[in-house]
Assembly symmetry: C2
Homo-oligomer: 215 residues x 2
DNA sequence: CTGGAATGTGTACGGCGTCCACACCAACGT
DNA sequence: ACGTTGGTGTGGACGCCGTACACATTCCAG
């Protein structure tokens, strides 16, 4: 048969690919990165892996399952971006101040990721919501933490340092998440998509402040 | 007008349809209503209009253009839902109180629509953002007002009644919109999709309060 | 060594968006 | 009255997509 059909990478010596599942996942992630969820096309992923379309079905029972895997990976990458932002927070002696800074870093990381990786961000939050698999997440990113858990931790810290009264803790994740996610949307798909970085940064700070004050 | 077009067999007496553009748009809206943007399939719309697939190209230059028209209609319907909610606000003597009520009604209308018409809501806010055409909007819904303008009015009222200081008016639309839109997302596609009506109503009130306090 | 179990291939089907050539029909100017 | 013209709908075809079924190749356990 045809020894090859593309050229650049997908020449494969062995009949078996080695780790096709991973290759397809990574191709899918790349597709999602520039193009969003719509761009995650099963046949294109197999093409990039240098393999026949149906080979994908040995590893994903359907296109939707591949998309879910990509989605889980995107969520994992988002969590990593948030962790990175948290790690960059200057350590402060004052615990309360520190907790506040971490809380803000969580929001900033979320928004930065939405802005810099809008394709992956949109993929992460498109489609339905089967709770992300920690097993899959562990394969791609390494952290077992998802964005929701990171936010919950930051809020717990706010409570334990006395910044946020315990009585307002319940459900606070949803208030904070709502505001930040909504802003992310406005920025990447909504009417703020043409805004300058400066404006965006300013608005981000205001939203975060609004959340702190109104939580 | 048209002798028929609705009956089970979409048999058409005349060769010309009469108002195919409108029929396609309405079919598209129906498709979006249950199924979201993904479900707006050109061929299916033509089927429902009882017409050959290519007939659509006399009225929409591409599938995307049909989708945009449906999207504009969905936005218009959202605006109507918000207006309805505003109209239901009890008139109060105290202007400040009234302004606050209207502001909340804007948020409630938005969230109610997201909940009750999630397909249309998702359609309204999927895809890119070419400013909605007032001409198209006028054809479907009657109001020339879009959700953004309704929100802006409510905020203006808050300022003129002294509830919101003028200094915080600029950009306030985006803060409010972020929070409410984010909550809408969490409810219809996110981790709150399984929540009860009671929980949702409670969270909605908290978000609105958060916005008022933190604006 | 051998015979399944994994894994990848080939072929085919129906659905989609879209292009092109053609058929139909209404309205208008002569 | 009529013929032309241009807007409107039809028919067929193309290339993409996701997916099903049968088959080929390879790996590994007994």
């Amino acid at each position: 048969m045809n020894p090859q059909k593309k050229s650049s990478p997908p020449v494969r010596k062995t009949f078996h690919h080695g780790n096709l599942r991973k290759a397809l996942l990574e191709a899918g992630i790349e597709l999602a990165r520039d193009g969003g969820p719509q761009a995650v096309v099963l046949r294109e992923a197999t093409r990039r892996a240098g393999v026949a379309p149906n080979a994908a079905y040995r590893h994903f029972s359907s296109h939707g399952e591949l998309l879910q895997a990509v989605r889980a990976a995107a969520i994992s990458l988002l969590a990593r971006a948030m962790e990175t932002e948290i790690a960059a927070v200057p350590r402060s002696k004052r615990l309360a101040e520190s907790a506040r800074q971490v809380f803000r870093a969580v929001g900033r990381g979320y928004l930065k990721f939405a802005l810099n990786e809008s394709g992956l961000f949109r993929t992460a939050f498109s489609v339905a919501d089967p709770v992300e698999d920690d097993a899959d997440a562990a394969k791609t990113g390494r952290s077992g933490l998802n964005p929701f858990q990171l936010l919950a931790r930051a809020l717990d810290r706010l409570v334990s340092t006395g910044v946020l009264p315990q009585s307002r803790r319940a459900g606070a994740e949803y208030l904070a998440w709502s505001a930040v996610h909504g802003l992310a949307y406005l920025i990447i798909e909504g009417p703020l998509s043409g805004a300058s970085d400066k404006e965006i940064r300013a608005l981000s700070e205001r939203v975060l402040k609004m959340v702190e004050n109104g939580l």
